[in-house]
Symmetry: C2
Amino acid sequence: MAAKGTDIADFGAVKLLDRISTAFPISQPSTVSGIGNDAAVINNSGKQTVAAAQLMLEGIHFDLTYTPLKHLGYKAVIAVINKIYAMNAAPVQLLLSLGVSQRFTVEDIDEITEGIAAACKRYQLDLAGVDISSSFTGLTVGITAVGAAEADQIVTRSGGKPTDLLCLSGNLGAAYMGLQLLRREKTVFEANNNAQPQLEGYNYILQRYLKPEAQQETFNLLTNNNIVPTAMISAVNGLASDTLQICKASNCGVRIYLERLPIASETFRMAEEMNFDAVTAALNGGDDYELLFTVPLGMHEIIQKELQGVDIIGHLCDAAEGNYLITPDNQAVELKAQGWE
Amino acid sequence: MAAKGTDIADFGAVKLLDRISTAFPISQPSTVSGIGNDAAVINNSGKQTVAAAQLMLEGIHFDLTYTPLKHLGYKAVIAVINKIYAMNAAPVQLLLSLGVSQRFTVEDIDEITEGIAAACKRYQLDLAGVDISSSFTGLTVGITAVGAAEADQIVTRSGGKPTDLLCLSGNLGAAYMGLQLLRREKTVFEANNNAQPQLEGYNYILQRYLKPEAQQETFNLLTNNNIVPTAMISAVNGLASDTLQICKASNCGVRIYLERLPIASETFRMAEEMNFDAVTAALNGGDDYELLFTVPLGMHEIIQKELQGVDIIGHLCDAAEGNYLITPDNQAVELKAQGWE
């Protein structure tokens, strides 16, 4: 390692990704789409093959004091297959790499695989490869998902055009508020081992954090209605960051209307209880596993009529017009992505 | 985690993999081959897509006190693409997942990606996806490789038949002795910070550990000579373990002839210097990144004549005859795999 160097947190994760990307020009004919989307697209002369990878690291992506191993296995699958759905492709195969330290037992691994198996059953997936190594430093779960789609169905982040509608499945900030609740109860428990966790009435936000689902339903609705979005992304880093990724890749600006942001009532209630701004949770919380996509303006009606659970939250515009959140009293707040987590 | 449970080291990594596999029956028509081979095989109506994943964990797969980050990046690619070659397929795309802790700088990441870029150039690969997360616990490198092959070219571990010849590219134990040398010099250095590492004369074994190459050449030789092995595996866990994997998957026994084991002179020399048995390094050392494969007996001549660098080291037999290493004085030593590392 360099004795001195540039701090990654200061530099920013997005800039770091750009920096890496420039070192890797695409050169192979079968690589249809590479870095900069949720998944790679590969053409082996049949359907397009779509592949994405995801690491889940202990202490970063999960805390085992409140994440059961079974849920961890399930969630790791959700995280990676939602990237395949975000390419408008169906995930089919998974590869699993586990790094486990000595404090884990065979039964622990059983629990993780139970969660993965439950996700495989729910989403019709085959686990097609497993690799286990020992680890000095806690639990590492690496999952790769491989999917397929016809070439003309693939959606990247870069096809958005000014006036396109910005659409979002489900709602935002729920998983983030669920996590805040779990953290609060952990702190209470650490201070007093006899304390019982106060989790009642918050099933929905806890479930959104602990056992999220992927957007197979939205993918199916799009397919069944012959809608191919112009751009799409797996919404996991908070609406601000995810929207800006589409804007950047599509060379567009954006307007999001604050009053249209879908936020569940439990999310609002928890935020209020914690003196936290629910809109901030929606914009920057992350872990939503929704689909954020754009469609041509003319699809306004079909989206509203046929895509249950999908909201139109704004629209793209010229890049020169910038990226703004519009409040109900018509103030424009610039959208900014959070840095390195 | 379970309060009490079965220790993974006692249980054994191979048994653990079997246990996991039984929880995941293959159900999707496009999954041609799943768990139990070096890579998954997927049929999306064109060429077969072959995918494999690999985790590299700090402290387990590498020690940064003697592994330069550039070499680490290079080696991570070698480890995963050799799995694709082991399916008799050509690797083409890579997906990279990095987990980096705060002690790493942007320049450190540059070094890792330089190594990956060098491997991409050397092996004509596209990096088609990158994902970076922060980490509390050192450096984690996850790489997925995707390749392609015609359906009738794919080789798994399970096609070996009694009398098939057991063939091996390159030589064994070199990387393991290189690692022992690095460890020795690290210990000396820790005892005396002014000590200069004594690495002269051991370039070959050091290179085999620090900057191994994948078996593109052997893959090309097989292809150019129209040889499709009956079974093949990426030789990384030591000859004993790797051979037993083929035997188990092919339901065969094996005879390996000790005097035919290819071991480089530097490997022998280092082993002697350290009072270590070079054959043990070959059988159990691992990290070789060679190809171990079987071909029908009738291919004896073409292998010897056309496959430069490949040795015939034994043959398969009936499973009932067991798995043995035959010494020059005709003693039969049972082949046993090492447990959890």
